[in-house]
Amino acid sequence: MSAFLRPTAPALRDPTPRELSSCLYHWEAALASIDTVAGVAGVFARAGTLASITDGLGTTFTAPHSMPAFGMVDADGDSIREALALWMGPTDFLHHNVAPPVQALSFYLDFIETGARTTANATLFAICNDAVSGGRFWIDTSGTYYRANYNNGVAATAVSTLTVGQPTAGQRVRLFGYLLATGQLRISQRIGAAAQTDGNETGPLALLPWGAGAKVRINSRGDTENPAQGRYRRAKLVSGLPAFDVLEAIR
């Protein structure tokens, strides 16, 4: 490096981008942080190691005890590991101590499938408190297909289940959909570049407040309940019902 470019103090550095997010909730692995885009601190736990994480060259490593395992994935099947992802196994838990206002919202989850779909009730994403009580929303699997669930803490759980599309390990999956002000719920899915498939839209259900202490969680429903697994890239909650391309691009 030229001596002109190596001053002593302060160091000349590219500023680290700090983004503002227009989402209700926005976490993105590309930033290599467990914090949300808006800066809400992530709380991560894994009581052990996680093996076979891949870097940008395909070299694998084992993430040590409790270290968030950011690795690089090939999101579009062209054999180039171009995208960062948080690799999470069945003992990994991540949550943010925020919960969006109870309102009409859209959800979006972008991840690489690693086998969670075949484990019934494995939960990829949730707005739920530690006790798994009160109003709560979560995305899990029936063991066959992914599904979205809403429970207002009083009535029976509304479930929107996909009936087409069973992602296999290594495939990029985007799960998205909406929760209307009427309590109606629908999940949709895109596997890789394939066309969108939709689950059923559930019937009306009163929107009631989230359970006390509700948090946004990735890879589990409660503090330890129903962990899933996957290589997570993005999770968003957005106010209203934007079109898919807007939901995908909004930051």
Partner: protein, 263 residues
């Protein structure tokens, strides 16, 4: 792969992506420049920086000749100004681009057939600072390249792993692309099972994690400098990049480094 311009998708229009300037290639991607022929420190007009261009061909099938005009006009409006260009393949990367050239090709005999092809060439001016996609490399005693693109003094995040055979007094070495040792970060301590060091070269702070419990570890710092990755330590656009490697007094040092490269 889909591209969005200003948050709107081009999916419905893309027929072929002729060139994306190697954006997906995990290779050094510094700016284009001609090497100095007179030797280092002699500046000549031979130095130049080229634009980074994105060429996209759209196959447009409007229903009528009138619609063709309307479609092209709409396309031109959509492409006006400086636009954020994003690929859904790497959504963490944002290029701010301007339409540099557009060519409409009316197919032969298509006075009555409204189909046409449109070549759009976008140029990313001064693309520094807009790529937020982080890179990850495994670290060991063998130096590993860390491509930084157009980034200058990019602070990496280094995580050193403990092992059952403790890693004692680890050292992080930064090399120029040609193997010249630039700096070393000297640490004093022992990393055993279930421990790892988190070295933030941006804030120049160190934390130790022991079975998930974080503690301040700045006292590990024994000397040297926190490594800063820089395109100035890389070769030309197709050349190698700065390297990082680990050493230790005993044990086998391993770890991982992440950083944000420019574009």
């Amino acid at each position: 792969m889909a591209f969005t311009i200003a948050g709107r998708t081009f999916n419905d229009l893309i027929w072929q992506c002729l060139q994306f300037d190697g954006h997906l290639a995990d290779v050094p991607a510094t700016w284009e420049r001609t090497e100095l022929t007179q030797g280092a420190s002699v500046l000549t007009p031979g130095v130049r920086m080229g634009p980074r261009s994105f060429k996209i061909t759209l196959d447009i099938w409007p229903p009528s000749l009138v619609d063709r005009v309307a479609t092209l006009d709409a396309l031109k409006r959509r492409c006006a100004g400086i636009l954020p260009l994003v690929s859904d393949d790497a959504p963490g990367r944002v290029w701010y681009v301007r339409l540099a050239n557009a060519a409409v090709e009316i197919l032969a005999g298509n006075l009555v057939n409204p189909r046409c092809l449109v070549d759009l060439e976008f140029t990313a001016h001064d693309p520094r600072r807009f790529d937020v996609e982080t890179q990850v490399r495994v670290l060991s005693t063998t130096p590993v390249e860390c491509p930084v693109g157009t980034g200058v003094s990019v602070p990496p995040r280094v995580r050193l792993f403990g092992a059952s055979t403790a890693v004692v007094n680890p050292i992080v070495d930064l090399y120029r692309f040609d193997g010249t040792l630039l700096s070393s970060l000297l640490l004093t301590g022992s990393l055993g099972t279930n421990t790892w060091l988190d070295i933030d070269c941006g804030t120049e702070w160190i934390h130790l994690y022991t079975a998930g419990v974080r503690s301040d570890a700045l006292a590990w710092l024994a000397g040297g400098a926190f490594p800063q990755l820089s395109g100035e330590d890389a070769a030309s656009s197709t050349g190698p990049s700065p390297l990082l490697a680990l050493r230790s007094t005993s044990g086998t040092p391993t770890g991982v480094v992440s950083w944000r490269r420019g574009w």
